[in-house]
Amino acid sequence: MSVIPAIRVTGLTKQFGSTTAVDHVDLEIAAGEFFSMLGPSGSGKTTVLRLIAGFEQPTGGTVELFGQDVTGKAPFDRDVNTVFQDYALFPHMSVLDNVAYGLRVRGVPRTERRDRAMRALAAVRLDQFAGRKPSQLSGGQRQRVALARATVVEPKVLLLDEPLGALDLKLREQMQVELKQIQRDLGITFIFVTHDQEEALTMSDRIAVFHDGRIEQLGTPRDLYERPASRFVADFVGTSNLFDADLSESLIGRRGEHSIRPEKLTVSAEPPSGAQMRSASGSLVESIYVGSGIRQVIDLDAGPRVTVLERNDRSRIADQERGGRVHVSWHEDDVVALIPPGA
C-alpha cells in the first residue's frame, strides 16, 4: 500500500467563462514536501492553488487532502492555510491580533492564544513588533507576519502565493533561505507558487511547470534544468539555446529538437580538439560583462544566434572584439533532446 499523499488533485479543471484556466491537472504532493508550481502569469498555477485552498470551486475534478475529498468544502473547513501575495494582513488589527486571529476564531482562550501568537512571532523574529499595526512594518516584516499568521494554526499544508514577489532581490534571497528553514522545522507540506524560475529551483524538492493550464513537466529542479522535456520548459526554466529539427541535424548531427544551456558552451578563437566535442563557427555580436561571468552573443554562420555564459575567469580573454571570428563548442553529453509537445 502506498503512502497517502498530502494533496491529491485529479482531473482538476476550472473554466472562467469561455477560457479554461486549469485543464485536467493531475497532481500528487507528498507530506513534508516543498513543492513549487512554476509558470508564467496566466498559466493556471495560482488558480490551482486557489482551488486547493477552496477560494474557487472547480468546474471538474477533485481535490483530496490526506486522502479525504475536500472538493465541495469551504475554505474555513479545510486544514490548509495560505500566505497571500499581498499578505492580506488585517489593517485595523495589531500584528499580534493578526497572528492570533486564527486561534481566536477557533475559540482558543485569550492568554493561550496570546502566548502562541507571541511564539509564532518570535519564530520569525518579530516579537518586538507585536503591538504595531501592519502599516508600520516594512514589506519583508509584513511578509513574515503573514507567515506567522498562517503557521500559528498548525495547518497540514501551507499554500504560498508568490509570497516573495513584492520584495527586493536581497531580501528575497534571504527569505528564500528562511522559508526553507521554516518548512524543515515545521515539517509541513509547502506548496509554493512562483513565476521566478530561479526561486523555484533553489527552494523546491519538486517543481511542476505550468503552461496554458496544464503541467508541462514535473520533476526535481535538476531534472527540469538538465533534462527539460519540451521547448517551453527549456526556454522558461533558465535560458536555453534552442535548435529546431533542421539545425539540430546540421549542427548537432541528431534528429529532432535540441537545446544547450549557455554555460555549457565555450567560446574560443581556434576550433577545439578532443573527443565528443563539437563546434560551430560564427561572429561575436555582443560581449556583456555580468559580474560573475561574461555573456557573449554569437551569430553562428549556420544561422541561429546563441548565447554563451562563461565564468569570470582570469584565463579567459576578457574582451573579444565585436564582429570577431570565434568558435562555439560543446560536449556531446550536454545536448538535451526536447520532446515536442504532443509526442
Binding site: 485552498a53 474555513f76 492580506a88 486571529y101 498562517a150
Partner: protein, 307 residues
C-alpha cells in the same frame, strides 16, 4: 550594416515648444506655490466664508432677537426668550422627540437595507451587474423629490397598491402617519446610505475576506471582525446623510404624515403664517445642536480619525 538612428524621411529635429503667454504664466506659477494656492482657494473660500458661515451665524443671531407683536417687525434687541420657549415648551419637546425618533428609525432601516445591497454590489456581483445596480441605485435621484413623495402617498393610500398587495394576507396599509413618514424617508435617503457603504466596501481587498475564511472564520465572523470594523467610517458617513436629512425634512411628513408635525413644519409655519422669524431660527437651532451631538458621539468612536 547601417548605423543611422533617424528613421527614413525625418530630417528636421523636433522643435522646442513655443513661448506663449499661457506657457509663461504656467512657468511663473510652477515656481510660486503660494500664488498657485491663492488662485486655487480664493473662490471656494469666499463661498464657504460668506455664503455658508455668515448665513449660519445670522441664523444664530436672529434667534436672539424678537418680534414686535403690534407691528410684526423684528426687534434687534438681545433676548433669550425664543431659546427658553423652544427648550421648555412642551409642544417643541414633543416635536423634537418625534423628529429625533423618525430620524433614528430611518437611519436604522436604511443601514439595514444598505449593508446587504452594498455588499452584493461590491463583493459578489459581476462587473456588469455592478454597473447596472449602481445605475439602479442612482436612478431615483433623477426624479423630483416631490414626485417620489406623492408616489408614496398613492402607494400608501387606502385604495393604493400596498393595500391591494397585502390585504389578501390579512395585512393593511399603515395609512398616513408616522409609519408612512418613516417608510417614505427611508426610501428617499437610501441611495445616500448605499453609496458611501458601497465605496467603503470597494476599498476592502477581497484577499482580506479570503484570509479570514482561510484562517477558519465563517462568514458571520468575517463580517463582524474584518468587514464591519473596516467599513465603519463609511457606515457613519451614510448615517450622517440619512440622519441629518431626516431631521430637517418637513415636506414628506406633510404629504404622507397625516396630522403629524416635525421640526421643519414648525420652522415653516413660524416663518410663513406666524411671521416670527426669530422663533423659527430658534427652532432651527435644535437639529443643528442634535447633529453636533451626533458628530461628537461619532467622533468618540474614532470613525472620523481617518477621514
Amino acid at each position: 550594416m547601417t548605423t543611422t538612428t533617424t528613421p527614413p524621411g525625418v530630417t528636421r529635429p523636433v522643435p522646442a515648444p513655443r513661448r506663449t503667454a499661457a506657457r509663461r504664466s504656467s512657468a511663473f506659477l510652477a515656481t510660486h506655490p503660494r500664488v498657485r494656492l491663492g488662485l486655487l482657494l480664493t473662490a471656494p473660500l469666499f463661498w464657504l466664508g460668506v455664503v455658508y458661515i455668515v448665513a449660519l451665524a445670522l441664523l444664530l443671531v436672529t434667534a436672539l432677537w424678537s418680534v414686535d407683536s403690534f407691528t410684526g417687525q423684528v426687534r434687534t434687541e438681545w433676548t433669550f426668550d425664543n431659546i427658553v420657549q423652544v427648550v421648555t415648551g412642551s409642544l417643541y419637546q414633543t416635536v423634537t422627540l418625534r423628529t429625533l425618533g423618525i430620524a433614528l428609525a430611518v437611519t436604522v432601516i436604511d443601514v439595514a437595507l444598505a449593508l446587504p445591497i452594498a455588499f452584493y454590489m461590491a463583493k459578489v456581483a459581476t462587473p456588469r451587474m455592478q454597473r447596472i445596480l449602481l445605475i439602479a441605485v442612482l436612478m431615483p435621484l433623477w426624479a423630483s423629490y416631490l414626485v417620489k413623495a406623492y408616489a408614496w402617498r398613492s402607494v400608501l393610500s387606502q385604495e393604493g397598491i400596498l393595500e391591494w398587495l397585502v390585504s389578501p394576507f390579512g395585512g393593511h396599509t399603515p395609512g398616513y402617519g408616522l409609519a408612512a413618514t418613516v417608510v417614505t424617508l427611508s426610501y428617499l435617503w437610501l441611495p445616500y446610505v448605499i453609496l458611501p457603504i458601497y465605496a467603503g466596501l470597494e476599498r476592502v481587498p477581497d484577499s482580506l475576506l479570503e484570509a479570514s475564511s482561510d484562517l477558519g472564520g465563517k462568514p458571520g465572523r468575517t463580517f463582524r471582525s474584518v468587514v464591519l470594523p473596516l467599513i465603519f467610517p463609511s457606515i457613519v458617513a451614510g448615517t450622517i446623510f440619512s440622519f441629518s436629512l431626516s431631521l430637517g425634512d418637513y415636506i414628506t411628513v406633510n404629504i404622507v404624515g397625516g396630522a403629524n408635525q416635525m421640526l421643519g413644519n414648525l420652522v415653516y409655519t413660524n416663518v410663513g403664517a406666524a411671521n416670527n422669524l426669530p422663533l423659527a431660527a430658534a427652532i432651527a437651532l435644535i437639529p443643528i445642536v442634535i447633529i453636533f451631538g451626533y458628530l461628537a458621539l461619532v467622533r468618540r468612536t474614532g470613525a472620523l480619525d481617518n477621514l
